[in-house]
């Protein structure tokens, strides 16, 4: 019933049509291709499926993929917020240039990024040479994976926060200040509640992207079994054994975990919005 009432209240007509298109496109673009993963695993049967997705190497790769993506997303959240803040609130020469730089990780083939990192951090590389002297290892460790994922996820955070921040009027901050709020209070009580949904969305996107990232990570990870093998690599390895079903099984579990995490984060966001409005 509520369904129809809503429709009547809307000024613009065409809910039926646009909803139809939405469902159709979502099916054609997302659901149908992804359902192939599901159908590929069905002939496997239950036991081989469980066996494939709970092999120690596969479990280790899940742990690695999710934890590195999480670290990278958290880091991106902080730095991305700061970058967006600088780009929105201040005027300075070269701002356009900086703004364009933010999008580069989007545009670059990720493999190129991977090669750049691997060269930069290698023991004879520009940065790697110094780091090796201090006994800090980046390349071929989980840290290296996080570095690559930070790069890949960065634009997501900046680009989701920017428009929201632009809408928060500076007068509000000034008003808070006049009413005696400290800087920290202004940030914590006035700005953050406004920005939090965008920050969460941006970080979630970065996180989701990080879980599936292959191209850039593969060059810097080292790919050692049980240590630095990411989940997408396990899928590729299974495909190279012509084990389509096994690859789909690993992919399916990855997909399910990712999807439930995204659902959960969406729920958090909704709850948070209710809290503050």
């Amino acid at each position: 019933m509520e369904f129809f009432q809503r429709k009547r209240r809307n000024i613009l007509p065409g809910f039926g049509l646009s909803m139809g298109y939405t469902v159709f496109y979502l099916s054609a673009i997302v659901i149908v291709p992804l359902s192939m993963i599901f159908f590929n695993t069905i002939p496997m049967g239950w036991e081989p499926f469980i066996h494939a997705v709970t092999a120690p190497r596969v479990l280790a790769s899940y742990r690695l993929s999710f934890s590195t993506a999480l670290f990278a997303a958290l880091f991106d959240g902080g730095v991305g917020l700061l970058t967006a803040w600088v780009l929105v609130r201040y005027q300075f020469p070269g701002k356009q240039f900086l703004d364009a730089l933010v999008d580069l990780p989007f545009a670059l083939p990720t493999a190129v990024a991977g090669i750049c990192f691997a060269t930069l951090y290698s023991p004879v590389g520009w940065l790697g040479e110094t780091l090796t002297k201090w006994n800090i290892e980046i390349i071929n460790t989980p840290t290296g994976i996080v570095v690559a994922l930070i790069f890949i996820g960065f634009p997501f955070v900046v680009r989701t926060i920017q428009p929201v921040l632009e809408e928060v009027e500076q007068e509000i901050e000034e008003a808070a200040q006049c009413l005696g709020a400290t800087r920290w209070q202004t940030f914590r009580k006035i700005l953050l509640p406004h920005l939090f949904p965008a920050l969460l969305t941006g970080s979630t996107l970065a996180f989701a992207r990080g879980i599936g990232e292959y191209g850039s990570v593969i060059f810097i990870a080292g790919n050692l079994p049980m240590k630095t093998e990411i989940a997408p690599l396990m899928i590729m390895a299974k495909l190279d054994q012509f084990d389509y079903a096994g690859a789909s099984a690993v992919a399916l579990v990855l997909l399910l975990i990712s999807f439930s995490m995204l659902l959960l984060l969406n729920a958090v966001q909704e709850w948070q919005q209710k809290e503050y409005r």
Partner: protein, 338 residues
């Protein structure tokens, strides 16, 4: 290079077409295309072979020919063909990949018996590449498992070349000690020394040569020569072990596709051409070991005497080797488990 000659041919072809008159000539003689789907390191080899064969074919039949090449990881290329890439011929890194194609009925299971020498017109082996002066004194297989030696080799799960490396090491130890248990321990010790497993042979080459990781790179002999050529003889040297594996990268016609394209005769002629003295010389010049004794002798300086054992001698056949060692739960997985 590749694009260069394709362009030249298309330009010539379009010039002929544009001049208006020879439309009929082209039709009479016909033009044909052939798709050769191969693995990574053969790019340069097939550029030369194709140019030679195009000339040869034109002289023999008057037909203008275009040969398209596709290169990538051997397993990925096989999968592309299984998934519908219409290759007329496949020239891959190992027989197992072509076996997989035959499993999907694109060519008969006995494909490897259709051409001489197990359908491998050229062979290679696995050698060591070390940094100039050989600072870690690596000369034998036993040297690379010593503690403190860092070895670069790709992941056998994703790379055909890496599987040859692994099997060469295993075969060496098994032949030397006569024991599979010792061979397993040897391989385990070897991979303890490996700090990074790239997904493909080229990736490992870059890791070793450009990024300076590792003391020794396990590589195809042809790839080793390429490294010296690309990065300089003053930086690296090749060490040939006394014993290694005879790596046989096979070639085959994809029957279903050549029937569909009507290119069977052409494809057969192309693969047979690879066995001719002319083609064998090209093979040798590209640092692959030719089958033809005369060609091998001519370029003997490039190919030091190594005692080569075949895969079948030690492992039976590729399907068994794959299943025992590289499939999930196989020996390679086991040596990494704590």
């Amino acid at each position: 290079m590749n694009l260069g000659w394709i362009k030249k041919i298309t330009i010539t072809a379009s010039l002929i077409a544009a001049s208006g008159l020879p439309g009929t000539i082209a039709e009479a003689a016909g033009t044909a295309t052939l798709l050769n789907v191969s693995y990574d390191p053969t790019r340069e080899l097939y550029q030369s072979e194709n140019a030679a064969f195009i000339q040869h074919w034109q002289k023999q039949t008057g037909q203008t020919l275009r040969i398209d090449q596709s290169h990538g990881g051997s397993g990925k290329q096989a999968r592309a063909i299984i998934d519908g890439l219409e290759a007329d011929v496949v020239t891959l890194a190992l027989a197992y990949d072509i076996d997989a194609i035959s499993d999907s009925k694109l060519l008969p299971a006995n494909w490897q018996t259709r051409l001489p020498n197990n359908s491998t017109p050229y062979t290679s082996t696995i050698v060591f590449v070390v940094r100039k002066g050989n600072p870690k004194h690596i000369t034998t297989w036993d040297d690379i498992v010593k503690p403190g030696v860092s070895v670069i080799t790709p992941n056998p799960k994703t790379s055909g070349g890496a599987r040859w490396n692994y099997l060469a090491a295993w075969g060496y130890k098994q032949k030397q000690s006569g024991s599979a248990v010792q061979a397993k321990n040897f391989v385990k010790a070897l991979y303890k020394n490996v700090p990074v497993l790239d997904t493909g042979a080229r990736g490992s080459t870059m890791t070793f040569a450009q990024r300076g990781l590792g003391d020794v790179l396990l590589a195809w002999e042809n790839e080793a020569h390429l490294i010296l050529k690309e990065f300089g003889k003053d930086k690296f040297e090749i060490v040939s072990p006394a014993i290694s594996i005879l790596a046989e990268p096979p070639v085959a016609i994809v029957d279903k596709n050549v029937t569909k394209h009507g290119t069977r005769k052409l494809a057969e002629a192309y693969l047979n051409f690879l066995y001719t003295p002319q083609a064998q010389d090209i093979i040798a010049r590209n640092s692959y070991r030719p089958r033809n004794a005369a060609s091998l002798k001519k370029y003997a300086a490039n190919f030091p005497k190594i005692k080569l054992f075949t895969l079948n001698e030690v492992f039976g056949n590729w399907r068994t080797a794959q299943k025992t060692h590289f499939n999930d739960g196989g020996v390679f997985d086991q040596i990494y488990l704590p």
